[in-house]
């Protein structure tokens, strides 16, 4: 009854092409941003910020990156973890070579390194599609994994083979390293993720997004209206890897505080791919929903037995969590193969006509 576009007339194309043409959606977005920027930092404790919100946002960003490639351009990739790793290692090298430059600049710049590597490994996509491309990107994953372990220059010849995040400041406030508070790191991550979401939503709604989707839906017809497949696919690989690279850099610099190459193995790639599939291919909102389901749900499940006063060994809880998550994924894929984002679309449509069935 309250969610309806009735009476909201658009008198020009700019208003008609807005991301959220319905007023209620815009209010909803404002409320979400208000909660994210004000309510959560004010009310949440360190655990919420550090163990839930920061990684959730970072994974959402990575999922968004993969969604651009897999959801919008239809190119399956299993190299997400490696592209995140490129971002993390590039950021580490850059900030240790040029310690005086602001770390945020390097976080963004590391995305460009990842974009270049991604575009390079995207070259086979001109010839191969689907599962075959997935295997080709899997090669990228293993090759880059190998590089992260075998090239000591990347981790500055540390004996442990891990990268340690040095302390870096922004306006004299530490934002990385052991002294940075969860709240500062949360704000930095949130700002970057919100800004990059805005950019992604602009890209997918404009000419470039239409080119990506045209290639995804019918590449022959796309070629015919003047969309060249290779540059379009490479742009998609580059943008996608940029997002993954920044996510990787944020993961190490603003969450873990240090990492080994193992963080960026193929499991990470699969995890992000699951987020995208569960959340909804070809939907930015889906990236958030997928990350929430895959990342936050296990945390909630783990906290549930102690909260209910049940005495279960933590190992059992861990195993149960796996079982429940697995079942939920299967149930979701059967009942709504288009992901959580589609579920949201259906809900919105139902709300629009409520109380009538159609």
């Amino acid at each position: 009854m309250f969610y309806r576009e009735v009476g909201q007339y658009k008198t020009n194309y700019v208003a008609d092409q807005a991301v959220f043409p319905i007023l209620q959606d815009r209010i909803g977005l404002g409320v979400i941003l208000l909660i994210a920027f004000v309510v959560i930092p004010l009310t949440g404790d360190d655990f919420l910020l550090n163990a839930v919100m920061i990684p959730f946002l970072i994974f959402s960003l990575a999922a968004m990156g993969l969604n651009i490639l897999t959801g919008y351009t239809g190119l399956l990739s299993l190299g997400t973890g490696a592209f995140m790793g490129v971002g993390a290692f590039a950021c580490y090298k850059l900030t240790t070579i040029f310690p005086n430059v602001n770390i945020l600049i390097w976080v963004i710049c590391s995305g460009f390194f990842s974009a270049a590597v991604g575009a390079l490994f995207g070259l086979p996509s001109l010839r191969i599609k689907g599962f075959y491309l997935a295997v080709a990107t899997l090669a990228a994953q293993f090759f880059l994994d190998w590089c992260f372990i075998r090239i000591p220059w990347l981790y500055n010849y540390n004996a442990s083979g891990a990268i340690q995040v040095p302390q870096r400041m922004l306006f004299d406030i530490p934002i990385t390293g052991p002294t940075a508070t969860a709240m500062t790191r949360y704000y930095v991550v949130l700002t970057i993720v919100v800004a990059m979401t805005w950019v992604a939503s602009n890209l997918v709604r404009g000419r470039i997004g239409r080119m990506w989707m045209a290639i995804r839906d019918m590449d022959i017809a796309a070629e015919l209206i003047g969309i060249r497949p290779l540059p379009t696919k490479l742009t998609s690989f580059a943008v996608s890897s940029f997002y993954c690279g920044v996510a990787g850099a944020l993961l190490v610099f603003l969450w873990y505080g240090g990492a080994e190459a193992d963080v960026f193995n193929v499991n990470q790639s699969f995890l992000i791919l699951f987020m995208v599939i569960i959340g909804g291919l070809g939907s930015l909102l889906g990236s958030y929903l997928g990350a929430a389901l895959i990342f936050i749900l296990p945390i909630v499940l783990r906290m549930l037995p102690p909260a209910l006063g049940l005495e279960i060994r933590s190992v059992t809880v861990e195993h149960l969590t796996f079982v429940i998550i697995g079942v939920r994924i299967i149930v979701f894929l059967i009942s709504e193969p288009h992901g959580l984002a589609r579920l949201w679309q259906v809900t919105k449509q139902k709300l629009r006509v409520w109380p009538f069935p159609y």
């Binding site: 020009n12 194309y13 700019v14 008609d16 092409q17 950019v199 602009n202 890209l203 709604r205 404009g206 000419r207 470039i208 239409r210 080119m211 989707m213 045209a214 995804r216 839906d217 019918m218 022959i220 017809a221 796309a222 070629e223 015919l224 209206i225 003047g226 969309i227 060249r228 742009t235 070809g282």
Partner: protein, 266 residues
């Protein structure tokens, strides 16, 4: 009804000329030494029985297939083979027999995608989607809305094309081709699988495109009645060979064409 433009067509310059084009896939000869031309502003039909090489011909014009022999002259520029991208840039648009729309996108986005080549604003502006990028988007949206009005598909603008009925999908596909502002429009079976009313609508759109925008049209058709009524000149293919070429009346009375369609006792 088409008499005046027939006269024009005779005097008009040649837009596209096909000379001695042969195309084979391994041992299968799809097209054997076919020559014909398409003049500016005319509606040219390519007809023939199944497997005559009609769609292959369009694919050659469009650059999907590269003929082993022969020359294609488009607007005075001669080439052995076109690239699809170059063909699109040169102003050749095309619809497919089996609708080839971008199924996950709305009708509006499909037609907007047809304007891709005309949009110039770079990646940076696209990221911001403000200022010049938005101005460009609106400018092309206006043009696309004209096409939507023309094809009478206002009500399905926001509908995902996969959910549309077949007849409307065909219309959206025509809209996408029109969005390219083509000089030459290739229509592969625009009326396939349509009922009478839809055929009449589509015929009206084809004639209107030709007269309003002055677009040259080459169309493939199965329905002889419709094709003969619409077109200025007809070329008939059979087993990859050209067996007749001329006005609908000439072709209708051609013995080779009658034999090809009805079969001949051996």
């Amino acid at each position: 009804m088409r008499a005046p433009s027939e006269k024009e067509a005779k005097t008009a310059e040649v837009l596209l000329a096909i000379e001695d084009v042969s195309l084979s896939f391994g041992g299968v000869k799809a097209i054997r030494g076919v020559s014909f031309d398409i003049r500016k502003g005319e509606i040219r039909a390519i007809i023939g029985p199944n497997g005559a090489g009609k769609t292959s011909m369009l694919n050659v014009i469009n650059g999907f297939y590269h003929p082993q022999e022969g020359r294609i002259t488009f607007r005075g520029e001669q080439r052995r083979a076109m690239r699809p991208y170059a063909a699109a840039q040169g102003g050749i648009a095309r619809t497919f027999q089996n609708v080839a729309l971008f199924r996950g996108m709305s009708a509006l986005d499909n037609i907007m995608a047809g304007r891709t080549l005309k949009m110039r604003k770079n990646f940076f502006w696209q990221m911001l989607r403000h200022g010049p990028a938005m101005a460009e988007e609106v400018e092309h949206r206006r043009k696309v809305e004209e096409i939507i009005d023309f094809l009478e598909i206002q009500h399905i603008r926001r509908t995902q094309v996969a959910k549309l009925p077949y007849g409307l999908q065909k219309r959206v596909e025509l809209g996408r081709a029109l969005a390219m502002d083509p000089d030459l429009l290739l229509l592969d079976e625009p009326m396939a699988g349509m009922n009478l009313e839809e055929k009449e609508d589509m015929s009206r759109f084809i004639l209107d495109v030709n007269s309003q925008y002055g677009t040259t049209i080459a169309l493939i058709g199965h329905d002889m009645g419709v094709v003969m009524d619409l077109s200025d000149r007809v070329v008939v293919l059979d087993y990859g060979r050209k067996i007749a070429d001329g006005t609908p009346e000439e072709v209708k009375s051609n013995q080779a064409v009658i034999d090809a369609y009805l079969g001949v006792a051996h």
